[in-house]
Assembly symmetry: C2
Homo-oligomer: 189 residues x 2
């Protein structure tokens, strides 16, 4: 499935946002996240803990910030496609009408090779040029977490119903909430 | 339109998440956010700045944490409906098939009176009982920012195309990204 690539991570300031990006990627069916920025053991630990408890396969890896360009270029050499989520891009509503979007969505091989880039504070302008599509989840300032969530939900078939085999914890959904769950109580949210 | 209600805000720890919640609420067409938690002038300032520059009407207000229950009860007395976004709730995919969802979505009066609750670290169990629906944007741990974004996008008609009158800054969307914009450069994200 899809890989998410976060360009930019500052250990102190971005801790929670990057953690949220990783958990959103996992929950909505991406297979992994790669982070170019400051190495952050706390994030590795908390995401790995979620994977161990809540099941499924999901990998997370950091590498130094400067390597973002090699990563993107390597991805293209392997014939993968790259979408960059940015408020400056073309509207996702228009992109959905695009034949290429439809092709991506319906071909598991293409999805397998899709990289979704989400930037941090400042995104080098070269990113805009290297990627295949610059896509905006609205042209208003808001949140890379929100953009990633909405994009994955539209791109990955049945993203909201992703299954996580071998889970130690699992919730039995209920309109009354918090009544039924297997495993111990969750305080993550 | 919809009002968002954030229960819980810790000035230091939740700064960025609460800011993202506010900006997502605005960008996807909610009319306001109310925050029960520590008063945080920085958030007020940065959200007001976005509104002043990027247009539209959007209001933000803090009140003390303990008042959350009065706020929810007051909302119900005014005959408004309340949705609480929580990983313990009923799946949003199922909720979308519900006649009540359809009624909410298609009635501007009902939408006007809809409150969407997003919790922080720990949500008092009373919240689950007071609200009309506990809805899960997946039953996996991820992000309240993502849950709010996906919910609003499904609930508010044309949420991604919300218009913001009297904007000083505005982006002309482009596949190449960052080429066209009115106003000065944005470094917010």
């Amino acid at each position: 499935m899809v890989t998410v690539f976060r360009i930019g991570h500052r250990k102190f300031r971005d801790k929670r946002i990057t953690t949220h990006l990783a958990l959103v990627a996992r929950a909505l069916g991406a297979k992994s996240i790669r982070i170019a920025g400051e190495y952050d053991e706390n994030i590795l630990r908390s995401v790995s803990k979620v994977v161990a408890e809540w099941g499924g396969k999901f990998s997370i890896e950091f590498f130094p910030y400067e390597e973002w360009i090699h990563y993107l270029e390597g991805w293209k050499q392997k014939k993968g496609k790259i979408v960059h989520l940015t408020m400056y891009g073309e509207s996702i509503t228009d992109f959905q009408l695009n034949q290429k979007f439809k092709k991506l969505k319906t071909s598991s091989t293409e999805l397998e090779n899709l990289l979704v880039v989400v930037g941090g504070e400042k995104v080098p302008s070269k990113v805009f040029q290297v990627v295949d599509w610059n896509i905006a989840v609205t042209n208003q300032p808001h949140s890379e977490v929100a953009s990633l969530a909405i994009f994955l939900e539209k791109m990955i078939p049945k993203a909201l119903e992703t299954e996580f085999p071998k889970a130690k914890r699992q919730i039995a959904p209920s309109l009354e909430g918090k009544k039924n769950y297997l495993g111990y109580e969750n305080n993550d949210e």
